[in-house]
Structures are given as C-alpha cells and as structure tokens.
C-alpha cells in the first residue's frame, strides 16, 4: 500500500498530464455532436459579448462595401417588384376569380437578418458567430445566405447568439447544381483557400464551361432552390477518371462578410415529419 502511494505521488504529474489530455480529447470528440455545447463555443455570453464589442470597431471599415451591396440589391429588388406586379396585373385579367393563387409549399420561407460578429477564414475548421439567437427564432439546421450567395448552416444556438458552420469548413457539404444543365453534386471545401471549394460527383459526360454558375439544388430542406453558390474557376479530368475535378470560385467573400440572412423555412417540420414517417413504414 505504501509503495502504491509512493508510486502515485512520484508520477502524479504524469497522471495529471494524462488526465488533462483525456479531457481535451473528450472535448474534441464531444464537440463533433451537432447542436450541443453552447457553453464551450463562441456563442456563450462572455465570448460573444467580447466579439460583438470588437466587431463594432471593425464594422466601421466594412461600411462602404456593405452600402454599395445594399443599394445594388435594393435596385435589383425594386426591378423585380415592378416585374412581378406587372405579371400579377396581366394574370388577373386573364383568369376568372375561381382560380386562386397559391404559393408552392416549398417556397414558403422568411428571412431573419443577422450580423456577423466573428468570422474566421484562415483555419481548417472555420466558424461564424451571429448576433441573433433563439429569441429571434433561429434554430439549428437553418440555412444562412448573404446578398452574394450561400454562407452556411446554423450549428448551435444560444438565446442571443448563434454559431454557423460556413461552406469553408470541411464538416459540411452543400448540395448544388448547374444553372445551365441541372446536374447536381456536393460542394466540399478542401481546407486551403477561403475563396475556392471543390465540386464532386459530376460525371464525365456532362458538358462544362469555365464560368458556369452553380446554384443550390433545393433537394435539401435547408436552402430553397436557386441561391448562387459560385462559378467554375477551373476543371480537370484525366482519361481514366469517371468524375470531374472542379474548382469553384465561391460567390461569397468570407473575408468581408458582415450582414447575412437566416432562412426560416416554414414547412420544415411538416416535411421532416412526413419524410420520417414514410421511412418508418
């Protein structure tokens, strides 16, 4: 017994070392779980308050570009409004009252505007913290977009803040398709440059051209169809390959990202329940 105690005392530092490392590894593994660990992420109140404060300083320098983008978007939206109003008027003339207009259920969504208060682009596992949380109606798994295109998916939510996994994090893959040909594949980031990502699963018979536009496919319930993802920067195929290696220039510049919109898909629960039900049967 005495020997045992001596042994324990002699190597106590080693045991402490091992103990701390085991805790660290547990944290790494636990952190893979979706939607947990609000305390140990930057959506906890101390960290996020600090980032909000630091962002109020940095944001000033991004105002000019943000303004430009906003006015551009405003114009585009106004044009669209006029176009839609005209269409509505012309349709009303043609159709009698008995036919009513109905929005397709998969298009019923709302936007929640939020501000980016922290965004890394130089790590392998990048995350974005937003200044809106559960109080504003944000839930895990919601899609996040900016004026330019797709940003990412909400991971954890606290009452006032939320953390987003952006597309520049190899933990998520976004389903997208070509605007021209409708072929779809998964977009995955390779951990290298925050401006580019790779597109997989495009078979060799598909015709591609540099600059082709990629949009979200609408096959997942996170993003509606047609949000820009990026353009083809470069593609390669060897004679022995069945699939293209496509380098995509992302539509969103994560280094200047400041304002985003979280997509609240209103029929999410209904669709999920139905899909689950049919899988069980």
């Amino acid at each position: 017994m005495k020997n045992l105690i001596n042994f324990l005392i002699q190597y106590s530092v080693v045991f402490l070392f091992l103990f701390l490392e085991v805790i660290s590894v547990t944290l790494i593994v636990k952190n893979q779980d979706y939607q947990k660990s609000v305390f140990l992420s930057s959506s906890n109140s101390v960290a996020s308050t600090m980032f909000e404060w630091s962002n109020s300083v940095v944001e000033f320098f991004k105002l000019r570009t943000a303004n430009d983008n906003l006015s551009e978007e405003n114009t585009a939206l106004k044009n669209q409004l006029v176009k839609l109003q005209n269409q509505l008027v012309s349709l009303k003339k043609e159709t009698p009252d008995s036919i009513h207009f109905r929005i397709p259920p998969e298009m019923e969504y709302q936007f929640i505007a939020a501000k980016v208060i922290k965004c890394t682009t130089n790590k392998t596992l990048n995350y974005i913290t937003l200044n809106k949380g559960a109080l504003d109606g944000i839930k895990p798994d919601m899609g996040v977009v900016s004026d330019e295109g797709v940003v990412g998916i909400v991971k954890t939510v606290s009452t006032k803040f939320s953390v987003v996994i952006p597309i520049i994090n190899p933990k998520i893959e976004i389903s997208c398709k070509f605007k021209r040909s409708n072929y779809s594949g998964g977009l995955l980031w390779n951990g290298e440059d925050s401006r580019y990502a790779n597109l997989n699963d495009i078979a060799r018979h598909v015709e591609l051209a540099l600059g082709d536009t990629l949009i979200t496919s609408g096959l997942t319930s996170t993003f509606p169809e047609g949000i820009p993802v990026g353009n083809i920067e470069d593609f390669k195929i060897k004679t022995s390959d069945a699939y293209y290696k496509i380098k995509v220039k992302l539509a969103v510049d994560f280094r200047t990202l400041s304002h985003v919109k979280v997509i609240n898909y209103l029929n999410y629960q209904e669709q999920k329940d139905l899909e689950k039900k049919s899988e069980e049967q």
Partner: protein
C-alpha cells in the same frame, strides 16, 4: 513588478491579442500564428509542473472557446507545458534555487532559440493535426504547420529581443 502579477497580465493580454487580432490575420490563406503559447514558454523555470499543466489547460480552453475548437487547443497547450521541463533540462544548466524567467539572457541565445523552436513546432503539429485530421490532405497540413510555426517563432524571438533583462 512581482512575477505573479506580471504573468496574470501577460495571460490576459495574450488571449485578447490572439482572439481579437491574430485570429483575423489572413495571409496566403495558410498563416495563423498562435502567439498565445508564449505564456507557457515564459513561465518561470521552477513553476511546479502540476501548476503549469493546469495553467496550460485553462489557457487552451479559453483560446479554444473563442474559436469553437476547445479540445484541440487545450490538448496542444498541455502537451507543450508537459514537454517544457524536459527541454529546459536538456539545453540549459540552471542551478538549484534559481528561478529565472526563460529569455535570451537567462538561457543564452542558442539555447533559447532551440527551446522556442522545438516547443512552438510541437504545439503547431499537435494543433493542426488534431484540427484537420481526416478532413484535409497531409501536404496542406504540413505547409500550414511549417509556415505558422515559422511566423510564431519569429514573433516570439522578436518580442523577447526587445524585452529587458
């Protein structure tokens, strides 16, 4: 200034500097210097080992919470704190009863450089491999490790060469 107070201030400054400034640096897409490890490197030589391990764990967790990867930073930092004593014994001959803070003056220039290079490299290897294990190809990780270590080492040596005796 008493050493304890000095270290508390250093801890706070390094965490803030790391999280608010260095984590936002974007250079070539590869370089993300992790200067906060200087806190562990600059602990007085005779700090009890169990205490420096606990400090390292706290430091790693604080940095990790801010970048959403708590475990990785804690693991790498604790590893450095554990290896530190051995490295000091290997390169220097500090007499019993002396308790200097590691620097160019107390270790000698070549010993201090070796000390910094080895520990910073160890920290970066552990960190990057844990962070991107299985996600990213090995060459990218290796480039990141080498470039980030290099910048961190230069920063630490630069800071130390300006500090007083």
């Amino acid at each position: 200034m008493p050493t304890v107070l000095q270290n508390i201030i250093r801890f706070i400054l390094l965490v803030l500097f790391q999280v608010l400034v260095l984590d936002n640096i974007q250079f070539l897409g590869y370089i993300n210097p992790y200067l906060y490890i200087l806190f562990i490197l600059a602990l007085p030589v005779q700090t009890p080992r169990w205490f420096s391990l606990l400090l390292a764990f706290g430091l790693g967790i604080s940095i990790g919470i801010c970048s959403n990867t708590p475990g990785q930073h804690a693991f790498a930092t604790v590893l450095v704190a554990f290896a530190r004593d051995g490295i000091i014994k290997l390169f220097t001959s500090i007499e019993e009863g002396n308790n200097p803070t590691p620097s160019f003056y107390t270790f000698g220039v070549s010993a201090y450089i070796k000390y910094v290079v080895i520990l910073v490299f160890l920290h970066n290897v552990a960190l990057f491999f844990l962070e991107s294990f299985s996600f990213v190809s090995g060459w990218i990780i290796l480039t990141k490790v080498v470039l980030s270590s290099l910048v961190t080492i230069l920063m630490i040596l630069g800071i130390q060469s300006f500090s007083k005796k």
